[in-house]
Amino acid sequence: MIRIKDLQKSYGEKPVLSHFSHDLPDNGIVCLTGASGRGKTTLLRILAGLETADGGSVTGLSGRKIAFVFQEDRLLPWITAQQNIRLAQPAGAKRPVGELLALAGLDSADGQKYPGQLSGGQRRRVAFLRGIAFLEGVENGVLLLDEPFNGLDAEAAGKLCGMLRSLAPQTLVLLVSHQLAPLQALDVSFFFMDQSF
């Protein structure tokens, strides 16, 4: 179990998390939801090790590999979609990138394109696949997703959900999303972050 206890974080004078506590399961899908400015993204960033909390503790994450799908795609513009995904794969990874692309509804021609040549929805899917690729062969990984369905149509969002479903037994999928409709077909625990300041 991942235990978040008394987590505090402020940006300057502005508090974002104030004594936030919550327990997360070791696997399965958890969706953090709530109004903007409640610290959802900040919580993901602290769990990913990209921010340091001002106080409190997080236990149960040590030794677990964490992939982060950012709210922005953050793809390297000078290499192809396929290379972006391959770059995140662990050394010795066996799963062909083409197989991953197909799961997300992209073909090998899309894989050969540079991020600038892809549509917003296609870029989003490539960023998602990069996160999946990073956790290849990992038992007990953590996949953090910040607004993964932004810019996706219902079909593409459905494909992503299918991938999340197959990951869930061995991975904790923690996502922040304002779009809840695509998650209806999944077994998801929702947590409403309602701290207000």
């Binding site: 990913a48 982060f68 953050r74 540079y114 991020p115």
Partner: protein, 263 residues
């Protein structure tokens, strides 16, 4: 179809360049004829005739190769040192505070002051390299320091989240981000390096050098020689600038840094 359009464009560009060059040569010829004294303004024809004589002399090529070697060695050293300095100064704030004033001083000091000072310490043959190095270094540093600061923070954070190794970060993030800054530094640096290097040679008068040939042309009032050597310097500077641009273009293509990908 695309190839023929590209060829047409290249052909048009070459034709335009030839017309512009011919117009300037005509203007120069007309000015020389108006002045009417070769001692004051050499005509392009006289210069070309003298150049044809000079290139047949071994001493011409000795001077060209020696000056090229020295000046380009200084420029290359400055490119390497400037890159390392920019990287270190971006990483360590103390090094930034320590080196920045020195680089600012070098940038603002007239090259002649350095050359005269260096004459006491450095052998004349090394003066061209030294002057080129000193003038190019702060420019390379400033360009690359700015480039490092401009590397996309979001991408850096992504590299951290996906645990990119140092090598991976260099190859896929820093190198493609810094190449345009490095290319700009090369292009400007080579021009500045040649100017500073030749100025140093004129003052230091090393054996077998373009600077010494220029000096001799001045004291013996050999105006055609002065024009010839000036033309040679301009051509050499342009040649190395183009060569560097080609090399960087090849490197860029190798790294798959294509403009299409950045759209």
């Amino acid at each position: 179809m695309k190839d023929s359009i590209t060829q047409n464009r290249i052909g048009k560009k070459i034709a335009q360049g030839a017309v512009v060059a011919a117009l300037w040569l005509l203007l120069w010829q007309a000015a020389a004829m108006a002045v009417g004294q070769e001692l004051l303004l050499v005509s392009p024809l006289t210069m070309l005739r003298r150049l044809a004589q000079l290139v047949r002399q071994p001493v011409f090529w000795q001077a060209v190769f020696s000056s090229c070697g020295r000046i380009m060695a200084g420029v290359l050293l400055a490119l390497a040192a400037g890159t390392v300095l920019a990287a270190l100064m971006s990483r360590f704030s103390f090094l930034y505070a320590f080196f920045r004033p020195a680089l600012q001083v070098i940038k603002s000091t007239p090259v002649a002051s350095f050359i005269i000072l260096a004459l006491v310490w450095i052998k004349s043959w090394a003066l061209g390299a030294f002057a080129a190095f000193l003038m190019v270094l702060p420019m390379v540093w400033a360009n690359l320091y700015e480039g490092i600061a401009a590397v996309d923070r979001d991408l850096l954070e992504m590299a951290k989240a996906y645990r990119f190794s140092f090598g991976k970060k260099m190859r896929y993030l820093y190198l493609p981000s810094l190449l345009p800054y490095f290319a700009a530094a090369c292009s400007t640096g080579i021009g500045i390096g040649w100017k500073a290097g030749i100025a140093a040679e004129v003052l230091g008068l090393p054996k077998n050098s373009i600077g010494k040939a220029l000096y001799n042309a001045k004291i013996y009032l050999e105006m055609p020689d002065l024009f010839c050597w000036t033309a040679v310097i301009i051509l050499l500077s342009l040649l190395f600038e183009k060569l560097a641009a080609r090399l960087l273009y090849a490197l860029t293509a190798r790294l798959a840094v294509e403009k299409e990908g950045q759209r």
